[in-house]
């Protein structure tokens, strides 16, 4: 993690190994959200607002357990609620903590044209730097999870930082700290994946959810926020969690082939007309020719 360079390597006058030897010291951080133990208490929503210094917003009551319809520029963490008919006379209340997924292959960063407005840290956190943001919202276009939100007053885009300010100081994100059921965990990606898989196996073995599994979508290179789902093949029923997200095809085409085609096309176009001039010159109108009025 962030203090990896300060890991103890040797200790004077000490018998045996050093403390922490063999413990995972991956740079990658990860947030694990176990949807099966979320009770929808919204403590994480409050903790997020408090730590990031945003005022509480008006909530919308729409006969569900969801605070408001969507995340907002100043509301980065929303427990989405969906009631699902299981088809056997029972229903499930699915709660999903929605926030930036901190993709390993971030579509927002690929789409952003502003130098330094989005950075991806080596630990996996994808962070917006509003000082460099120009408000074009190409990140909105590039995000497969619909996360970045525009502030029409500041003309900047905001989203969850995975509490990069806390993680940089060796603390866990604010939401993790507030969770009363232990459905939120934070650690290295390796450790969180292991924990998530262990939990998914436990659910499969001990409950009727025989298809429980871990959501760590490959299409975006994996994410630094992962879910344990009751049914790993029904991500969509968690209020629109994409089953197989990826950086949009046309964003890849636009930032890949089209960019190079355009750049070379313009360069060769300018060169082409210049060479035309060198070869054929101008269309001089014959000045000798008499024109009868």
């Amino acid at each position: 993690m962030s203090n990896g360079l300060m890991e103890i390597k040797a200790i004077s006058g000490h018998r045996g190994g050093t403390p922490g030897q063999g413990v995972s010291r991956d740079y990658d951080v990860c947030k694990l959200v176990d949807t099966t133990t979320c009770i929808g208490c919204k403590a994480c929503e409050v903790a997020c607002l408090e730590w990031n210094g945003y005022e509480f917003r008006d909530t919308t009551f729409d006969n569900t357990y969801q605070t408001m319809p969507d995340t907002a520029w100043n509301f980065w963490n929303l427990i989405r609620f969906n009631e699902v008919d299981n088809g056997d006379g029972t229903v499930s209340w699915l709660m999903r903590k929605d926030q930036c997924m901190h993709c390993e292959d971030p579509g927002c960063l690929a789409a952003c044209p502003a130098d330094g407005a989005i950075v991806q840290y080596r630990n996996g956190i994808v962070d917006f730097n509003q000082a460099n943001c120009i408000g074009c919202q190409y990140c909105v276009t590039g995000c497969p999870f619909n996360i970045p939100k525009f502030n029409s007053v500041t003309k900047k885009v905001y989203k969850c930082t995975l509490c990069s300010d806390r993680v940089g100081a060796g603390l866990e994100p604010a939401c993790i700290k507030s969770c009363p059921t232990g459905c939120l965990h934070f650690g290295s990606k390796e450790d969180m994946l292991a924990l998530a898989n262990q939990r998914a196996a436990q659910i499969r073995d001990n409950t009727s959810h025989k298809n429980a599994g871990v959501y760590d979508p490959e299409g975006v290179g994996g994410t630094h926020v992962i879910y344990v789902l009751h049914d790993k093949d029904k991500a969509e029923q968690y209020s629109g969690l994409p089953q197989d997200p990826s950086v949009p095809f046309f964003v890849k085409m636009w930032k890949g082939p089209l960019k190079w085609l355009g750049g070379f096309g313009i360069a060769f176009g300018v060169l082409g007309v210049f060479l035309h001039h060198v070869r054929y010159g101008a269309k001089q109108v014959d000045k000798e020719e008499e024109v009868k009025p």
């Binding site: 969507d70 074009c136 909105v140 619909n146 970045p148 960019k259 096309g265 035309h276 269309k283 020719e289």
Partner: protein, 225 residues
């Protein structure tokens, strides 16, 4: 021997010249050209990091993000004005096909082999219609790109997929206009002497009119006789 008189070259038409563009045509063309140039340079700034320095030239990324759509509306307005003014002259005529067959002769300056043309030759018409169609596409996609937040909230979230498509089409269409623009600027400044004067001062020599736009020349000079 000079008389010392100042010729008002841009307000009076000399006797051996013919009016090609009146003031409103020229003014509209140049407002269009300036707005296009701004859109081109600020658009390129957002298209590739290698040209992002252009954003600073025009006041910074936030500034160009704010003005690009508004200047785009000015550009569209002038295109629409030119359309209403020139659509008759831009309509295809039978000899256009013949001209296109001879495009190689035209490019290689063997103009004596190219069929006589009206006020605008078939190539100019093609340029115009490419720019006109691209402008319509750029307008529609540009308005969506102006307010992408429409597609990131509420029920419109399900239409989020249009955003990547729209951004791609906007960029690709802009590249088509850039190709046309490079040719247009080259031809006006270097390839066809006299055409710059036509758009600046409004008139061309009768010789020029006869050489480049014989059918139009016959019409205006014939009518003047």
């Amino acid at each position: 021997m000079t008389t010392g008189a100042i010729t008002r070259s841009s307000t009076a038409t000399p006797h051996d010249e013919v009016v090609r563009y009146d003031f409103s045509e020229r003014a509209t063309h140049w407002v269009n050209a300036l707005s296009y140039s701004y859109l081109l340079l600020t658009g390129l700034a957002l298209f590739t990091p290698y040209l992002y320095w252009l954003a600073y030239v025009f006041g910074g990324g936030g500034t160009i993000r704010f003005w690009h759509p508004w200047v785009g509306l000015v550009y569209v307005a002038t295109i629409l004005w030119m359309h209403s003014r020139w659509k008759a002259d831009m309509a295809p005529i039978p000899s256009d096909a013949e001209w296109r067959k001879n495009i190689r002769n035209y490019i290689e300056n063997r103009d004596e082999l190219v069929p006589a043309q009206g006020k605008f030759n078939a190539g100019q018409k093609q340029f115009w219609w490419v720019m006109f169609c691209c402008t319509v596409i750029l307008l529609v996609t540009g308005i969506i790109m102006w307010f992408p937040e429409w597609f990131s909230n509420g029920s419109a979230r399900s239409f989020h997929w249009v955003l990547p498509l729209v951004v791609f089409i906007h960029s690709a269409t802009a590249l088509v206009t850039i190709a046309a623009f490079i040719i247009h600027v080259y031809m006006s400044i270097w390839m066809t002497p006299g055409s710059m004067k036509a758009m600046m001062e409004g008139h061309v020599s009768t010789r020029w009119a006869r050489a480049h736009h014989r059918l139009w020349y016959d019409k205006v000079v014939g009518g003047r006789k």
